[in-house]
């Protein structure tokens, strides 16, 4: 009988980046994302061991990750992460041919985006990340979060308004600064 662990290696390989990306975008903090990442796969491992390992696996790991995230969020209640641009700068890279100004601008923009994400409350944040960043369809988001489709659409709708508003303001401020 195959050791559960051997098969799990494959599961890990296939899903690790996706899950890490999700958790990082949700928390905005690399360190936290790492912790939650490990917790997710540990939980999945414990439960998966002798469970049916067919189909829906990656979807299920998504929901485990979201549950881990939810537990973390409830515990820490730190809804605002102070993300300094210098920190996040490590993870954003401009294209090869970009000028220093461009690079700096892009760095700033991305950091702001991440900050914006984190400024959303989790009920909105999760659907936004799943929709725009992970590229899931609304039905899939509903399945993975256990919420109804209408509620996901409403959340996306609200988030869209909020984000565009904030983005618009940021853009104006930036234009001011560059002048």
């Amino acid at each position: 009988m195959a050791k559960p662990f051997e098969n799990y290696d494959e599961i890990l390989k296939e899903n690790k980046d996706r899950i890490f990306n999700l958790l990082f975008r949700l928390t905005g903090d690399h360190h936290t994302a790492e912790d939650l990442f490990q917790e997710t796969f540990l939980r999945a491992y414990r439960g998966l061991g002798r469970y049916e390992g067919k189909s829906k696996l990656s979807t299920w790991i998504y929901s485990v990750a979201l549950n881990v995230y939810r537990d973390h969020y409830r515990k820490s209640r730190k809804s605002r992460h102070d993300i300094r641009i210098e920190d996040t700068g490590l993870f954003f890279s401009a294209g090869p041919g970009s000028s220093p100004e461009e690079a700096f601008l892009m760095k700033e923009e991305r950091a702001e985006l991440q900050e914006l994400l984190v400024s959303l409350r989790p009920a909105l944040r999760v659907p936004v990340v799943l929709f725009y960043i992970e590229g899931l369809a609304v039905e899939e988001i509903a399945a993975v979060t256990g919420r109804s489709e209408p509620s996901i659409k409403t959340a996306l709708h609200r988030a869209r308004k909020l984000l565009k508003e904030k983005l618009g303001r940021e853009k104006d401020e930036k234009k001011e600064r560059l002048r």
Partner: protein
């Protein structure tokens, strides 16, 4: 029904697509793998090693036999809390079990007998701390409880199915339908 345009936004899509896709850091994945291995080992160690049977002594055989003789019917009773076999025309034979070492008397009360106390007696099972009674009931849903020492009524500790009336009373619920037993807890 919200149209796609209402919640989907091209600008946002464009903006978010500029974000780098993160990869799980090597270090973290390695740490995780180590933790998983440790879990795996821990689990395996817990599995009892198969001890080779060298010689079975007569006394051991006898002890095993005696235990089984006692344990099997007891287990049957304990695990088949509500043994509901289907009698003709949708009635059910139901066994109710209550566990209490120190009780002096246990009665069954519920919708099926208008909660009349001291009517349906549970009998003690041998020397065990179990009390049991068997009822034939028609298909339906019945609230019930156990009257202990003719003093107080408790809901069934062995069943997870509980209902509350509007007066703050809790009782257990037994659902009898379709020849399958319901109402037992895990």
């Amino acid at each position: 029904m919200k149209r796609k345009k209402d919640y989907d936004d091209r600008d946002l899509r464009r903006a978010f697509s500029s974000l780098t896709r993160m990869e799980a850091p090597e270090r973290t994945v390695r740490e995780l793998s180590e933790r998983l291995e440790r879990e795996q080992e821990g689990l395996e160690r817990r599995k009892p090693a198969a001890a080779p049977l060298l010689r079975i002594r007569r006394e051991v055989l006898f002890a095993v036999f005696a235990t089984l003789l006692f344990a099997v019917p007891l287990t049957y009773l304990v695990t088949k809390r509500f043994a509901a076999e289907k009698a003709p025309s949708r009635t059910y034979v139901v066994r109710f079990i209550y566990e209490d070492e120190n009780a002096r008397s246990v009665h069954l009360v519920g919708d099926f007998n208008s909660w009349r106390s001291s009517e349906i007696i549970l009998e003690r099972v041998g020397d065990s701390k179990l009390w049991s009674a068997e009822l034939t009931l028609e298909e339906g849903l019945y609230k019930y409880g156990f009257l202990v020492n003719e003093t107080y009524i408790v809901s069934d500790p062995l069943s997870g199915l509980k209902v509350k009336d509007s007066f703050g009373n809790e009782s257990s619920l037994m659902v009898l339908a379709d020849g399958k037993r319901r109402g037992g807890s895990s």
